[in-house]
């Protein structure tokens, strides 16, 4: 197992597990909760086909610790820089060309919810709770959450951000904040199962090509995305033809 700040990394064959561990609530003391270069190294490991992000213990993450945040805010430049690094970490996760699933038990608040929103799929256990409590403290989500939540839910995001609504798993499924509810107590069971169904018979190359195309949807114009899709397809096709003739 490898460690960077409050996050550890372990391999389960072709899956990588990122575990958030910081006391019982897995607070994100700092917006840069992991070293981006470490994370980059881990995700470049050979034969990696998918990633699960989870919290150790009963909670995913309760987000920022408000006391810590106040302290950081004493120097605005420091806070600004750290927020930007935090954003880069989440952008990096969102742009990964392998599926990333958030396995969510218990509290998933603030920065924790920001991490979950950067994942490609969210699977929660029955006891999960979601919220952006920032508005209660005169703040707003600061790591891209306002954008990601609105992309995902449309206007429903206004309520969640402005009222700091507390949302349970069933409600989260209904509005589309989570994709699946696990029948077992730990959401990681279903996360593993879902990931297996997507990656077990697929080559790294096929997974990366398809994911790159899917990730292009929000980054490129329609014409660029369609062009990139055809190119990725043709590259795979040349390989397939090659293998068949061998």
């Amino acid at each position: 197992m490898k460690q960077s700040k409050i996050v550890s990394w372990e391999r389960l064959e072709d899956i990588g597990i990122l575990s958030i561990s910081n006391d019982k609530k897995n607070y994100l003391d700092q917006p840069d909760f992991i070293d981006l270069e470490e994370l980059r190294k881990w995700t470049y490991e050979k034969d990696l086909k998918g990633i699960i992000i989870r919290g150790i213990g009963r909670n995913f993450s309760a987000g920022a610790n408000i006391e810590n945040l106040r302290e950081l805010a004493n120097d605005q430049n420091v806070l600004y820089d750290k927020m930007n690094i935090g954003k880069k970490i989440l952008d990096f996760i969102e742009d990964l060309n392998i599926p990333v699933i958030a396995a969510i038990n218990g509290a998933c608040f603030g920065g924790g919810l920001e991490i979950a929103l950067a994942c490609h799929m969210r699977i929660a256990s029955e006891n999960a709770l979601f919220a952006f409590p920032e508005a209660n403290h005169g703040l707003i989500p600061g790591l891209g959450g306002t954008y990601r939540l609105t992309q995902l839910l449309g206007k429903k995001s206004f309520h969640i951000i402005l009222n700091a609504d507390l949302i349970n798993t069933n409600e989260a499924l209904k509005i589309g904040l989570v994709d699946y509810i696990s029948e077992t107590k730990d959401a990681i069971d279903l996360a593993k199962e879902k990931l297996e169904s997507m990656i077990s018979d697929r080559s790294v190359e096929v997974i990366q090509s398809a994911m790159q195309a899917i990730n292009n949807v929000n980054k490129l114009t329609k014409d660029e995305a369609l062009k990139a899709e055809t190119e990725l397809f043709c590259k795979l096709a040349v390989n397939v033809k090659h293998h068949r003739e061998d």
């Binding site: 398809a210 195309a213 292009n216 369609l226 397809f233 040349v238 397939v240 033809k241």
Partner: protein, 216 residues
């Protein structure tokens, strides 16, 4: 006029039938004719809506893999450059997507199998009606490929990234009842009623159709 397409107009509805039963494959002749139909015929026709369907039991089994792989690898062997063949094939994506630029509603009526490129074509329509026993999906990754004709772009727009990722990577086929839950299709009817239902929808949709609905 066409070999693998039939084009008929009845009561201001244009019926485009993929006519190469039983599986109505989308070979290079299909793509040539579809291009011709889209660029030279449909917009000058006196119609208020279009219905696309397959002849016989199935809609279409999608692209013809061996032919397609042959075309791509011959081009690649010739110049060792993927760009040229990619530009050529991108025309197919553009022409599928351009169904959204038509000023009239496009309805796809699916009986039987509609997978791969055929399902990608359907996703570019405005309304999809399926028979109860239709089989849908994008199984390309199970052949070590990926959807290459608008699927990776349109599917996430319709059902979101998570489900699109799952359907594309798993490559599993699915039933109309599931697709209806995901709002991926609009209606499921008994197989025998698919074409009649599409005709009724065409008549109802055409007069109140709002062009803005098309663009996603």
């Amino acid at each position: 006029m066409f070999k693998v397409l039939n084009w008929n107009i009845k009561e201001r509805i244009g019926y485009l039938e993929i006519n190469n039963p039983p599986s109505n494959p989308m070979d290079s002749v299909f793509f040539e004719e579809f291009y011709w139909w889209r660029t030279e015929i449909v917009e000058s026709a006196e119609i208020d809506s279009v219905i696309i369907h397959g002849k016989g039991r199935h809609f279409s089994s999608g692209a013809v893999l061996n032919e397609l792989l042959g075309i791509i690898s011959r081009s690649y062997e010739h110049g060792k450059d993927i760009k040229k063949i990619s530009e050529f094939l991108n025309k197919n994506s553009q022409i599928f997507y351009s169904l959204k630029e038509l000023k009239i509603p496009v309805i796809v009526a699916i009986r039987g199998v509609c997978i791969g490129s055929a399902f990608e074509l359907a996703l570019c329509a405005d309304y999809i009606v399926c028979g109860e026993k239709a089989v849908l999906g994008l199984p390309e990754t199970t052949f070590d490929l990926m959807p290459g004709c608008t699927g990776t772009y349109v599917l996430p727009k319709v059902v979101g990234k998570a489900l699109a990722m799952e359907l594309i990577l798993s490559g599993k086929t699915f039933f109309p009842s599931e697709a209806l839950d995901w709002k991926l299709i609009q209606k499921v009817v008994p197989t025998k009623q698919v074409l009649d239902y599409a005709t009724n929808i065409a008549k109802n949709l055409a007069p109140k159709f709002i062009e803005d609905l098309k663009l996603i």
